[in-house]
């Protein structure tokens, strides 16, 4: 059962072909990792999936229906930076999606409704390990804590698909390990479909149920900009997880991925957890 | 359709701060205006505007029904701009209120070749032209430099200014400087710089009560302020303070202002043929400087009407009227 289907997708920018002939069909519960050279169009592809931009050719279907040409809550996203709101405390960042859903006018709740929302996000706050930092502003958090918050915020509305654009690219290795465990746990619990662009091949192999490689297949030395990148490899790594609801209780692939032998660059935690600093 | 020509009940006139017009402020604040307006079943607002030119512009643009201004500005701005204007009250004429000041020289003829700082195209400019005329010089023999009235007093303190023409109270402030010499003043061309309250002719025609109320209030104020009673002193003190000075300062300004406290004198002044001659000087001056109406082909372009049906200039384009009839009513106690 494929959640996301991409058919004959192509993107040109000002006449330069960036992506071409991309066909992809992603099953529900898959964890797709995407790698490719810098500038080959990975972020562009993600922007198309988001609906932030429209493809020059081809179409994208979500659950069989063409996606609307703008971002919607069925597709969550985490970028490398600017993914959380600097003017809201950690707690308010998590409450924001619910406030937006419930207060269609101002987008802001008051009194009991507000307390209610805050109570609802308390569990999530705990799961992303920020319960002690609930009242801090993002500017007072480390990079790792900010990305944890960004992921948490993207998950509040339980999107069908979560899109990640190099979410851990700027983090220290030790912190990265933490984040991998966190994202695998959340993916496993929610049963959502994940699309993650990364520069770290090891990360791509370790996390994904499927690895997608973008590259230029054809190259004309006389017209280097004539051809765009497409999908050159598409490796299944492990079976996607069944949707959270009807998943068997047996050993699950995500847990398996998480319990791989620890990577040898395992650095000790040097203070990026909220309490380590004096 | 023309709002000005309609029969209305509420009116606005404006005035600006100047010795001869201070009574208007007092008329408004003391309730005299309301008293006279009530008498004729109308309401009149007397509004103070600090910038003299802006007050005339606003009147010309139609925002006010009446305004205080000099005879010269009445001819060049509203009349020249096609707003038919009637000089309702001839309040005073400058009798020394305007003067030419030289530094360290006491002969007018010394002005030849100097930079003369003044408000260009104002009555000061006119005074200078008339003064030069009398000693056989012309404007070509000096260099006129424009200075805004707000800056004039301070400007006189600098080396650059050796000659200036201005009016009171700037004049008296300047004359306090030891090196300042007044070499010519408006008392030498008596009756040529006249301070008026003008109103829109169409409005006045449609609403004679406005004229009556204004004139009535004015001459009641005149009789109070000219009296040597406590009420008179109080009124003058009020005016002094509103003018930014004290009673003594204000009274010295009044000394060089030939006030027509008695309406009969004003009527007589208006009827005198000398007025026609004065206005002829004025229109020649304005025409020469290109400010008598838009693209005026000759000094006759704007017509003026005087008491007794006499006219000056184009009778098909009469825009400025000297009409003593309301002042006459006051003189005869008919208000």
């Amino acid at each position: 059962m494929s959640v996301l289907e991409v058919r004959g997708l192509g993107v040109d920018y000002d006449g330069v072909r960036v992506l071409e002939r991309i066909d992809l069909s992603v099953a529900a519960g898959a964890f797709c990792t995407v790698v490719g050279a810098s500038g080959c169009g990975k972020s562009t592809f993600l922007r198309i999936l988001l609906g932030q931009e429209r493809p020059t050719r081809g179409e994208v279907l979500l659950d069989g229906v063409p996606i609307p040409p703008e971002p919607m809550p069925d597709r969550g996203v985490v970028f490398q930076k600017y993914s959380v709101f600097a003017h809201l405390s950690v707690r308010d960042n998590l409450a924001l999606p619910l406030e937006i859903q419930r207060a269609r006018g101002l987008g802001r709740l008051f009194g009991r409704a507000r307390r209610q929302v805050r109570a609802e996000v308390a569990d999530l706050l705990h799961r992303i390990g920020l319960e002690h930092a609930g009242d801090r502003y993002p500017g007072q958090l480390s990079g790792g804590m900010q990305q944890r918050l960004a992921i948490g915020q993207a998950l509040v509305l339980k999107p069908r698909v979560l899109l990640l654009d190099e979410p851990f690219g700027a983090l220290d290795p030790g912190i990265k390990k933490d984040m991998h465990a966190l994202i695998l746990n959340l993916w496993q619990d929610t049963g959502m479909t994940v699309f993650m662009v990364t520069h770290d091949i090891q990360e791509a192999f370790q996390l994904g149920t499927r690895l997608v490689v973008f590259d230029k297949l054809r190259h004309d030395p006389h017209a280097p900009r004539a051809f765009g990148a497409t999908i050159t490899y598409d490796l299944p790594l492990r079976p996607p997880q069944p949707p959270a609801a009807d998943r068997p209780a047996g050993p699950d692939p995500a847990a398996a991925a998480a319990s791989q032998p620890p990577a040898p660059d395992a650095a000790p935690e040097t203070g990026e957890t909220p309490d380590a600093a004096p | 359709q023309d709002a000005r020509a309609q029969d209305r009940e509420s009116f606005q006139v404006c005035w600006s701060i100047y010795a001869g017009w201070m009574p208007w402020g007092w008329i408004e604040s003391s309730g005299l205006m309301d008293k006279w307006a009530d008498k004729y079943d109308i309401s009149v607002d007397v509004v103070q505007i600090n910038d003299y030119i802006e007050s005339i512009n606003q009147y010309t643009a139609g925002r006010f029904d009446g305004c205080t201004m000099t005879n010269m500005d009445a001819l060049s701005i509203p009349a020249g701009g096609g707003v038919d204007t009637t000089a309702l009250i001839v309040g005073d004429f400058s009798n020394g209120n305007d003067g030419i000041v030289l530094k360290n020289k006491d002969e007018l003829s010394a002005i030849e070749g100097m930079d003369v700082h003044l408000v260009e195209l104002s009555v000061s400019h006119y005074l200078l032209a008339r003064a030069l005329d009398q000693i056989g010089l012309s404007e070509r023999d000096v260099n006129v430099v424009n200075v805004s009235d707000a800056d004039l007093v301070a400007a006189f303190d600098t080396e650059d200014v050796q000659a200036t023409v201005t009016w009171n109270p700037l004049l008296s402030t300047i004359l306090k400087k030891p090196e300042a010499n007044e070499v010519f003043d408006s008392s030498q061309i008596p009756g040529e710089i006249i301070d008026l309250m003008v109103v829109n002719t169409e409005t006045l025609r449609a609403n004679p009560e406005l004229g009556k109320a204004l004139v009535g209030a004015w001459y009641e104020a005149m009789s109070i302020m000219s009296s040597d009673t406590q009420a008179g002193r109080d009124a003058r003190t009020w005016m002094a303070e509103a003018a930014g000075t004290d009673l003594r300062g204000y009274e010295s300004q009044l000394e060089t202002t030939q006030m027509f406290y008695d309406p009969a004198e004003a009527v007589e002044f208006t009827r005198d043929d000398k007025l026609i001659q004065t206005m002829d000087f004025v229109r020649q001056f304005l025409f020469k400087h290109g400010i008598l109406g838009q693209g005026a082909p000759s000094p006759d372009y704007v017509g003026m009407q005087f008491p007794g049906g006499e006219t000056l200039g184009n009778t098909n384009n009469i825009q400025l009227r000297f009409d003593p009839s309301y002042m006459k009513m006051a003189a005869e106690g008919e208000l």
């Binding site: 924001l96 | 103070q48 505007i49 600090n50």
Partner: protein, 273 residues
């Protein structure tokens, strides 16, 4: 040690800061004394005592005409005008600026016009302003608004356009509609720069206030300065100017502190002058 590494102590800082003020005061006193020696009735540079007397007269003696304290009356009138003017400018800047920054159609429509409009020196079109707004309080406030709102609007529009695209995408994936994006993202994120714009705008606001009051007013700080200028009463003008400067300084600091306290998130790092 390099000059840039020599940091004065706290006390030295205060002493150094007071220096230029003391110098100006000294130069003024000497110049004033010299002029008075030449002409005892000089009005251009009154002595400090003369100014103190004028303040005593204007601020602490009831006016004979109205029985009120002139300087306070003037201050209140001016503050009211500048307050309303800046309020209107702020609202305009916020509404137009965010609309321009956020909605491409509105930006395309208004940006060139606001840009051109902000370059018109308002005092040159005073007669038209007065005709449109009348000569009452509205005109004076309008002059302040016309003089400050366009630049403030441009600042807010730029701040709105500077909100990172990522945040806009993110909030859309959280289901926000355009209006919610305005209330929950643009308005709060733009506030620090709006306060900055208000602080910048207060400088020209005072200038326009003074100009407006010089043309049509019966009280106000600018009016009084205009009125006594014809007598060159610098003993009144200078204290009034100092008073305006003090008020402006206090307002500026107040907005700065408001921003620091009220928008802590925006003042994470970097010192401001």
């Amino acid at each position: 040690m390099r000059l840039i590494n020599q940091k004065p102590s706290r006390i030295a800082r205060y002493a150094l800061g007071a220096l230029p003020f003391a110098a100006v005061l000294l130069i003024y006193s000497v110049a004033s004394k010299l002029r008075h020696m030449e002409n005892p009735q000089d009005r251009l540079l009154p002595s400090l005592q003369q100014m103190a007397a004028a303040v005593e007269r204007m601020a602490f003696t009831p006016s004979k005409r109205t029985g009120e304290y002139t300087m306070w009356l003037d201050t209140l009138a001016s503050l009211e005008r500048i307050g309303i003017g800046m309020l209107v400018s702020t609202v305009l800047a916020l509404v137009l600026g965010i609309a321009m920054g956020a909605i491409p159609r509105i930006r395309a429509t208004l940006a060139p016009f606001v840009g051109a409009f902000s370059l018109i020196p308002p005092i040159t079109v005073l007669p038209i302003l007065f005709i449109v707004f009348g000569l009452g309080e509205t005109a004076k406030i309008a002059l302040i608004v016309v003089g400050t709102a366009p630049v403030m609007t441009r600042t807010v529009a730029q701040a709105t356009a500077d909100v990172p695209d990522e945040l806009l995408v993110k909030v859309q994936t959280l289901g926000a509609n355009s209006w919610q994006i305005v209330t929950r993202v643009f308005v709060p994120m733009v506030l620090p720069r709006l306060i900055g714009a208000i602080r910048m705008g207060l400088v020209p606001a005072w200038i326009f206030l003074v100009s407006a009051e010089a043309i049509a007013a019966e009280q106000g700080l600018g009016y009084r300065i205009f009125l006594v200028r014809r007598y060159l009463a610098m003993d009144v003008i200078l204290p009034y100017v100092a008073w305006i400067t003090i008020i402006a300084y206090v307002l500026d600091r107040a907005f700065y502190l408001l921003s620091r306290k009220g928008l802590r998130w925006a003042h994470g790092e970097g010192g401001a002058l």
